[in-house]
Amino acid sequence: MDFLRSRQSTMKSEDPVREPYREGIIVKPYERLSLEQVKWLDEASVKILEDPGIWCYNERAAKLFKGHGAKVWEEQEASSACWRVSFPRGLVREAVSRAPSRFVLGARRPENRLLLDAELPRVYFGSGSEANVWIDVQMEQFVSTNDSQVKIRVPRFRELRGDSALLCRAARLCERLEHLDFFIRPLNIQDPDVTSDNHDVNKFFASLNNITKHVQAGLTKLERLKDVVRMAEIIAGGREALRKNPIISFIACVFKSPLQIVDETADKVFAIVESGLPLVISSSPQGGSSAPIQEAGMVAQINAEILAGITLTQLIKDGAPVLYGSVPVRARLDDLHDLYGCPEFNQYNIDCVQMAHFYKIPCYSTAGVGDAKVPGMQATFEKLFTHLYMAMSGAQYIHYAFGLLDRTNSFCPVQAVLDNEQIGKIKHCLREPKVDPPIVEDTLRIVKKVMTSPHRLFARHARKAMHAGDVSSPYRFEVKGLEDKVLENALDYTIQLERMAAPHLDQATVDRIFNEIPGLLPGLKQAAE
């Protein structure tokens, strides 16, 4: 089947995208798999979806699959209602080919919108994802036991439970991080007044009222989707305005690995797709426990799960905007917890980026997660390892990239600031080379000029590139003496950023939201002055 050609022709007439949007960084993708290997994995995924198929715990989804030609039968052994679904390959291929390869994720400020294009390796970095703990950093002075005149300042760390006020702080900080392109709340809200019923409206409002970039989150309770959407409509300027500028989108982990569609999440997928807002179909199997640890097995399985999820979205609504959400992780073999800072994590993830590219669906990928519990050398090593590698892969939408520590359990604002600096350098490093005939001509002119000057020094001619932003700056938190003050400097910078004004919504909008949307915490009612 000439799958790719049919897909390209499907997309030709669609071009709703108008500037401005965030620049991101367009890279020349590093590919780990050959096209032949991609096709083998694709074939393996299709075979998995045929046999053994999937275990679907949602009746509506099972019926929908059946209505479109899947072989569906009730699974007798399951303790709760379950349907086995065997997908004919044509059904999956056809459905996946209908998912758009290009769409926009909106934002309160138009210049903060994101253009996702599966055929263009434009990389965006963002935060994530619902850590329970906020790591507070303070510097404390210590005196040497050998010499009381010798004093050093050392970072001390304190754990705070995530709440709505801290989420507001995180969003405000992320607004100021110039290399953060989108916001997935990095912190869970655990205020005493937050219940499962008002969780969604509060997390979305705390985010939207403190950042003007794209806001994405999971949905806690299906029944509150309408309130979240209404809130977004008020902010965007109405239903049609929200459709054109979807300032929010959702994440749904519809698969519980291995190969099981979750009942409640499937209902959410139906509702979100029907709302018309973009959705990530995310799967996060763990190699060594809920998926094979071997690269081929992991990628074949996660790809099967994502393809089945995307198939569901397209059967619900043809052309629904969806991201290929791959978060494959590896198990530690000493305790079976997730292990992020390891080579296999990169291998799995970059393979998934290539699979998404093969299907021409924008890829939601992962970088910047590690096992370190505090900012420092281990965190930097683990983060750089994935920040750089995943950016090189050309994934369009890389989450988890700012401030996460202790796998995904903690968020540290100082770490987010450090990550911002690191990602900025990576974006600079991967910029397209500026080499063309006029530039080469200009270079030859300068070489001749300098070689006839008394000192043969090119420094003066660095200015044009320097002022155009083509020359990178030294590491922002560098120290010139024999001390490591990176964290202290990063903390000072974090404090500076946090002092900047919050980009709150105007008073009338805030009032309207509080009047129309039930369950919002009074403490969140802040508006622009």
Partner: protein
């Protein structure tokens, strides 16, 4: 009539534009007359060379220094402006000598024998010229005798020595000794610089000062002159 031309020269020094084809700090200046063309015009128009020196060059370099201190300018900007002043000084020199205007003094500079590294030395030379010193740049890998000869020939009150290697920096001590032997040590201040050098090393070999960069060299020379 003079003022606009002097203002233009000052503006172009701040912009770091030596010639019309140069880009400036701001965009869109390529093709406009720069320091070389404007100083020539000023001399042709009969503007007092002292006025060009004081009102256009000296004042504008002060502005450049302030911009550098504020972090608005980086080293390439400073060098571009200093080069502008250097070029202007070359054009003005014959007129200033005729008018009896003294420079801040001759400064012989060079990288010692066996050492080809000259970036730091060049930066110092450009900056000193921009600061109003008459710089005699001997280049890199300069034999000791050639350095002594130049100090004597130019009756230079200042000598700057540069080295980047621990093996070549030892020659700095030999040069100081040779200056003594030639009977000119008390007539010349010896400043040393380069990555392996230090104030401690300057003291050890009997040099007058160690400069960690061009800015410190200018500051030290000001102190020495006063």
């Amino acid at each position: 009539m003079d003022k606009p031309l002097l203002e233009k020269i000052a503006f172009n020094v701040i912009q770091g534009r030596v010639e019309a084809e140069d880009e400036g700090f701001d965009e869109g200046l390529e093709g406009e007359p720069a320091v070389t063309e404007l100083v020539k015009d000023a001399l042709k128009d009969g503007i007092d060379p002292k006025s060009i020196l004081l009102d256009a060059l000296t004042e504008s370099m002060e502005v450049v220094g302030e911009k550098y201190d504020r972090g608005e300018y980086l080293i390439p900007d400073m060098l571009a402006s200093a080069e502008c002043v250097g070029v202007a000084m070359d054009l003005l020199s014959p007129y200033l000598i005729k008018a009896g205007v003294q420079t801040k003094g001759k400064f012989v500079i060079g990288t010692v024998a066996g050492d080809l590294h000259d970036i730091g030395k060049n930066i110092v030379a450009i900056m000193l010229k921009g600061a109003g010193y008459e710089v005699v740049d001997l280049g890199a890998d300069v034999p000791t005798d050639r350095i002594i000869e130049a100090v004597k020939e130019h009756q230079a009150p200042y000598l700057g020595l540069s080295a980047l290697l621990t093996t070549t920096m030892r020659l700095m001590g030999d040069i100081v000794e040779k200056l003594k032997e030639e009977g000119v040590r008390d007539k010349v201040k010896v400043l040393i610089g380069g990555a392996p050098t230090s104030q401690e090393y300057a003291d050890q070999i009997g040099a007058d000062a160690h400069c960690k960069d061009a800015f410190q060299a200018i500051d030290l020379l000001k102190t020495m002159a006063s």
